[in-house]
Subunit: 361 residues, 2 copies
Amino acid sequence: MSRIFNFSAGPAMLPLEVLEEVQRELLDCQKSGMSILEMSHRAPVYDKVNAEAEADIKELLGLNEDWCVLFLGGGASLQFSMVPMNFLTEGKIGAYVDTSSFSAKAVKEAEKVGAAVTLFSSKEQKYNRVPRLDEIKLPANAAYLHITGNNTIEGTEYHNYPDTGKIPLIADLSSDILSKPIPTEKFSFIYAGAQKNIGPGGVVVVIARKDFVKGRNKNLPTMLNYEVHMDNKSLYNTPPVFGVYIVGLVAKWLKKQGGLAVMQERNISKAKLIYDVIDKHLDFYRGFAEKDSRSYMNITFGLPSEELEAKFVLEATAGGLDGLKGHRSVGGLRASVYNAMPRAGCEKLAEFMENFYLANR
Amino acid sequence: MSRIFNFSAGPAMLPLEVLEEVQRELLDCQKSGMSILEMSHRAPVYDKVNAEAEADIKELLGLNEDWCVLFLGGGASLQFSMVPMNFLTEGKIGAYVDTSSFSAKAVKEAEKVGAAVTLFSSKEQKYNRVPRLDEIKLPANAAYLHITGNNTIEGTEYHNYPDTGKIPLIADLSSDILSKPIPTEKFSFIYAGAQKNIGPGGVVVVIARKDFVKGRNKNLPTMLNYEVHMDNKSLYNTPPVFGVYIVGLVAKWLKKQGGLAVMQERNISKAKLIYDVIDKHLDFYRGFAEKDSRSYMNITFGLPSEELEAKFVLEATAGGLDGLKGHRSVGGLRASVYNAMPRAGCEKLAEFMENFYLANR
């Protein structure tokens, strides 16, 4: 089979040019005589890979020396625990916005560590929106505010971020990281599983203000202490070498595309192709997210019946459009159109949706 | 440059056949139309990869349905904390054998969780040996005994394992996992970073008795609870997909070689080529480990001066023998000769050592 359009929510498509480069040098990385898969994390070639990946991500986001970029294992789910372990100080409260089942998991893990409060939840509306900024009322004793920037399962996304003043803003940007420029001046700490926009499964990117990470709980398990990873430039122990290498190649690819403003424009225009079909046939395609909260990464919708949804998935897959089934917890359909999804994939899906509507309305 | 012999301690060489297969299907894995790097961990192709990797490792070790095999992120260093968090029960004590700087790290992490005791330490002899079995006196209130099966930095290895009776035996086998048959009936729990004998960095293999893992501390952070990973067959969250895929290919390669008894014979004979040169020129090559404790995976030795050691590394590297510098914490020289190091690599190193001796004695 030739390569297909993969609308999976993650792990997800990677740029073909990146995959081709990985393939080309898989037996001999940068003339080292060995595969990147075999390379010591203390080797000069890997040192360069690690340093360039950090530098390129900082360049893409316009970050200065006050920031560090870390590459960790364990997945974003481990961050749900590491964030309160590191930042939920005695006498303070972790403040959360609950916009998805992943946000709810983050709250649950924080409650195991200390005091946590949910300031806003769209759970009763099945998480069909993120809050308006005026709906978030921060308590004065908040250790931080934690938000989920893009909600993969539900297909919602923040298009503006709250001003939290002196209270640090922490965000899980797993599913929209590097898909658009971010007003980083509002944030203290960002984390993201790489497997949607910037790499394979098994590596988490942390983007943090150094002074926010510094001098925290010294008695934490070493591997759960961000400061250890910061002080060791992600090389305290063997990192997910291959994952970091791919993230680095994707960062270079993003720079070559013109950076995050270009990606944002491209991503909005790709998503619009699909949202336009949904909006044209409102009686048939039922967009899940409220319009103001729509994600440009994950487009969620339903059809009039589960039978039609099954038929949709079957016929789309046969046509080379894969991964369109919604998350098992919510059902329906979902098209994930991250950075690496070519515009041609979205065009093909939009065309398929139009034809499917005509044949099944 | 063509491929070299890489004696790095890890990440380390992988079988060339495995790398060639990875390269071949890097753009289109098992006719799925996508790279394994892009594949959802919920996709049927990956389900099969995950299940076969587990089944093949169990087959290699001769394990029945009482055992599970898990694939986790975070590195073996995270296991140093997860082991006591899961198994160091109230009123009991974690018993440790200290045979390396990694063993010492395991003790340090246990002490953050509860009570830990070091039953034996070879630290004063710079960790040049593992204990004789009669040197380990287990306290009756031990929650478990933790050993480090092979000590990568120091080049020592257990060739027999203690009988701990009713007290569970836990082992970090990061650097000799699947290099030889293991009397698994003695063990309750084994963990290993994959990046030496069985895969790339970023994936940890856990091999555990199901009844040992079951029903432990329910209030642990979810991602640090082994039972969660067991109940979800390593798919609670996005696993290090690509790493597991490689581990699976290596397991199949090991089966094709004839299994662990064949690998053991081959590994002993490979290591002997190098130890023989050391023993022949005792005045020049100074083997670090006591003979009974010598590792078949990591061969550590020194030369009469640091200048000679630097010259050795320089000339070896120029001759296509890479990664021979000892760990930065101990200096000297180290040849790591894991499963995937071809016999030809050891022959070439032995020949180089003989010539280097003649030229520099």
